[in-house]
Symmetry: D2
Subunit: 269 residues, 4 copies
C-alpha cells in the first residue's frame, strides 16, 4: 500500500484553480456589495472559493436512533410538528416527508444543546439551478440555519451551498451525493447564552457532519441567519424548536431524531 | 407520536443514582489520591459519575472511505505502519488487524488537523474486567489518547472507559456495543500549536463520535496522555503519526482511514 | 436459548383461522364461478386461505449487481426499455422509475433462463384497496407474471397478492413490507420448451424470494397469465423480454438487473 | 446505457478455456477412477470444468431473521447444538462460532422442508490449498452436504468447491468472496420421502443462493453425501438435524436461522 498524501496538496491547488476560474463568472450578480463578514469575505461573496467536491460512498440503510433519542419523524406522521396555520401539512411520501408549498414546519418540542440527525434527498431529475435547486434548510432554535441544497455539480455562492452556515461559512468540502440519493446530516449544537442585559455571553457553536464527513468543525455562529445581511443575535430562551424550511422545492426528509446533550456550561474557552 | 422529553431528566437522575450507588465500591482502589484536574475531579477519580449507557442500533456495513481519505488499513496488509522493531507485526485475521503482544504500531505517515475513522471490536467472549478487558487506544500525534475499552456492562473509572480522553475527560454517554460487535470512532482533531519558546499557543481540541453518537464535543486537551498524572504539553512538530496501542488484549481494528483537514488557524475563540 | 418450534403450528392454525374468518366476506364478489385450477382451487378463489403475514426486518442498502449481471435500470435512464409508442416514458424520481399511466414497459433485450433482481416500493400513503392498491407486475417473457401489490394488511384474493403467480398460485407466506419501504424480488426462472408441433415439452418453473424469504419454490407455471381464466401456453422463442406493468398505481422500481443462467436442459425430472 | 449481453457468451468461452487449460494439471491426482455420476462426470472429476468466478459486491450487515424463523445461533451461545460428547464446544469469537477441532456439531431440533440462512467466513490469511483451505460444510438431515470451502482463487475439483452439492454437482458459478469476508448461504430444501419398503418415493431437491446469486437451482440430490462414492439414499424420518462440519479449519459461522416450510407434498412433477 502506498500513501497518497498528495490529496491535501491537490485540494489546495484545486481550490485555487476554482477561485481563478470563477473569478470572472459571477453566478449571483450583485453579491459583491453585501456587507463584510469577520473572516474578510462578504455575505454570499461571489469571489469566495467554492469548497472542493469529495466523492463519498453510496447511502447505507437509515441510522437507527439510539435509545436516548427523541424521534421527531419516523415515516408515519407529522404529529411532532406544527405548520403555518396549525397542523403541519407536508406530504407523506414513501416513508418520507416532502416539502409541498404549505410553508415551513417546526417541532412542537424545544431543544437546547443537542445532536440532530436528519436525512434528506434532493429531487431527481433536477429542476432549476444555483439556489433554485433542491433548496431547504434545517434551523436550530428556529433561526440558525444549516443550508440544505442540491450542491451536486451545482455552482452557487460558497456560503449558500449544502451544509453551509447560510450567509456565514461554507463547508470545508462539498460532500453532496447526487440528487435522488439520501444524504445525512449529524449536527452537534451548543446553544448560545445571554447576559441579563440581553447581550451575548457565549455565542452558539456548531459542528456538522455531512454524509460521514466533518464539514463544519466547532464553528462559532455570528447570529441568527439573515438574508444578505450579517447575522446578529437577539436574546432568546434556553430552548427552541427545530425548523425545516419550505423554499418551494420538493425536498424530502426522513429519519429525523434529536438527542439533548448535557454539556458543561463553564466559562468560554 | 408523543415526545418523550423525559430521557434528559432520566439521564440526570440515573447519573445521580450511579454516583450514589458506586460511591462505596471503588473498582480501582487507590485512585482517590491522584492529582486534581481543572474540572475538580481527580485523575481516574473513583467518585466521578460514570456515563450513562445508551443502547445504539446494530453495526452496519463498514463506512467506505471518501475520495480524499488516506486509507491506512483496508484489511490486506500493515504496510502503512511500523512496529517496535521495524515492521508492524500484528495479526491479520479475517480482514482485520489484531493486537498480539508485539507492541504498539504507528503510521509511517504523519498528520496534523484531521478526521480519523476507525472501527474496532472487543474480544468475545470477554476475559478480565475493568481496565483489563478489551483495552487499547488510538493516539493522535502518538501521544493524545482516545481510549479503546470494552465498556459494555464493565464498570471502571469514568475517565478510563471507551471514548474517554484517557485520564482527562469521560465521554458524555457510554455508547459501547457488546464485545464481538464492530464499533466506530470518528475523531475530529485540531492539533495544538506552540510559541517559539515552546509554550502552548493553542491547545489541541477534539470531537469524538462513537457509534454515531457524539461523546466528546470540542473538548480541549490538557496535554499528552500520562498515567496517574495530569497531562502536560511538550512542544512538537505540526504533524505526527497515529498510534494504536498494544495493551495485551486481542482487540481488532479495521477500515482505518484519515482525512487531513484544512482548518483556519486564526486566533483562539 | 430456547427453540420456539411452535411458529410452524401457529402458522397452520392462523391460516385455518383466516380461512374461517373470511369465508363469509368475499373481497372480490363473483370469484366463485371462475374455472378450477389443477390444485382444486378456482382462479382468484375467495375461499382460498390467504398466506400468513411474516414480519421481515427493515430494508437494507440496494444489493449491488454481481459482475455477470446485465443492469437494466440503475437509476439514471430508461434506455434499456421501450414503451407503448416507442420510448419508455415512466417518471424518473429520485433514482427510481415510477409508473405514470403511460403504459407497460419492456426490455429491449431478451432473456431465457435467468435470475432477476428487482426492488419495488408501493406508494405511501396508501390509496385504494384490494387489487387497487399498489398494483403492478413483473412479467417473464412478457407473459408470465409475478404479481406486485401492496399486500401489507390489504386483504385480497390469495392468488392475486404480492409474489403470487397471478391467478395460479399464492406465495407460501406474505412477506410484504409496509408501503413506502423498498422490497426485493429475486426470481429464478427456467423457461419452458416446446416441441416441433407447438405443444409443451417442459413447462416453465419458477422460484421467488421476497425480501429474503422463499415464497415460491420451484413452482410449475400452468401457462401465460390470463385474467379470470386458467393460464395456457402458446409456443414462443427461447428468449423474451422482461415486462413491467402499468396498472395505474404509482409504484416505483429500482436496481433492476438480470443474470442469464446456463442451466442443463435435460429430460424433465 | 448499453446492454452487454456478451457476458453469457464470455462465460461459456471462459468455462471452455478453463477446461482446456486445466486438462493437463490434475489438482487432485487419482480422481479419474472414481465412479460415474448420472450426468456423465465422475465423482470429484478432475476433468469437470470449474465454475466461472463471478465477483459480487461487499458483504452487507447481517440479514435479520424474519418473525417465523427459528434462530439457531445469534452470537451468544451454542445451546441449540450438541457436539461429539454432549455439549457443543466450538469457540465463541466476536459474535461468531468457530470450528476448533472438537468435532461436528448438530442442532438439537429437527427440520424437514425448510429455508436455511447461514453466514460463514473463511480464515484470513489463508492456510493450505485445494480442499485444505477453509473447509467445512452444512448438512441437511445431518447427511446432505452443501460444501463450505474457501474457493476464492483456490482451484480444486469442481464438485468440491463452495456451494457444491459435495461429490454430486458443482455450483453454476463461483460466487465466493475473499477469505476474511462474511458470505451468505440461503438454502431451500425439499426433504425426500420414502415408500413403506424403504425405497425412495421422491428424492430431495435443493436450491442454493450464495451471496445473493443462485448457484444450485432445484437440483435433485442423488442421496446422502459420501466420500469418493456415488451418493445413495437410506430411509430416514421426516425430520432431521442440521449439522456443521469440523474439517479442522477455523471457519466461522454466524446468524444461523431456519424457517420450516409448509410445502405441498403432491405427486412428483
Amino acid at each position: 500500500m502506498t500513501l497518497p498524501i498528495t490529496p491535501v496538496v491537490a485540494v489546495s491547488l484545486l481550490a485555487l484553480a476554482t477561485t481563478l476560474a470563477t473569478g470572472g463568472q459571477d453566478p449571483q450578480p450583485g453579491y459583491r456589495d453585501t456587507p463584510k463578514l469577520p473572516d474578510g469575505f462578504r455575505v454570499h461573496d461571489a469571489d469566495r472559493p467554492r469548497p472542493v467536491a469529495v466523492a463519498v460512498g453510496p447511502a447505507g440503510a437509515p441510522t437507527p436512533p439510539p435509545a436516548d433519542a427523541v424521534v421527531l419523524f419516523d415515516g408515519k406522521d407529522l404529529s411532532a410538528f406544527r405548520g403555518r396555520d396549525g397542523d403541519a401539512k407536508w406530504l407523506l411520501v414513501d416513508g418520507a416527508m416532502q416539502v409541498n408549498g404549505t410553508g415551513d414546519i417546526e417541532t412542537k418540542a424545544e431543544f437546547g444543546d443537542c445532536q440532530v440527525h436528519i436525512e434528506w434527498m434532493a429531487p431527481s431529475p433536477t429542476k432549476g439551478d444555483s439556489q433554485g435547486r433542491g433548496n431547504s434548510g434545517v434551523f436550530l432554535f428556529g433561526r440558525y440555519e444549516v443550508q440544505v441544497l442540491d450542491s451536486f455539480e451545482n455552482p452557487t455562492y460558497a456560503d449558500g451551498q449544502a451544509a453551509a452556515l447560510y450567509g456565514q461559512k461554507p463547508p470545508l468540502v462539498n460532500a453532496c451525493r447526487r440528487p435522488g440519493e439520501w444524504q445525512t446530516y449529524d449536527i452537534f449544537f451548543r446553544a448560545p447564552s445571554f447576559k441579563a442585559d440581553g447581550s451575548v455571553e457565549l455565542p452558539a457553536r456548531i459542528t456538522v457532519v455531512h454524509n460521514g464527513i466533518v464539514v463544519q468543525l466547532d464553528e462559532t455562529l455570528l447570529g441568527a441567519t439573515s438574508h444578505r445581511g450579517v447575522a446578529k443575535y437577539t436574546q432568546h430562551a434556553d430552548k427552541g424548536p427545530l425548523k425545516l424550511q419550505d423554499h418551494g422545492d420538493p425536498v424530502k426528509f426522513r429519519n429525523f431524531w434529536v438527542r439533548p446533550l448535557q454539556l458543561e456550561r463553564a466559562a468560554p474557552k
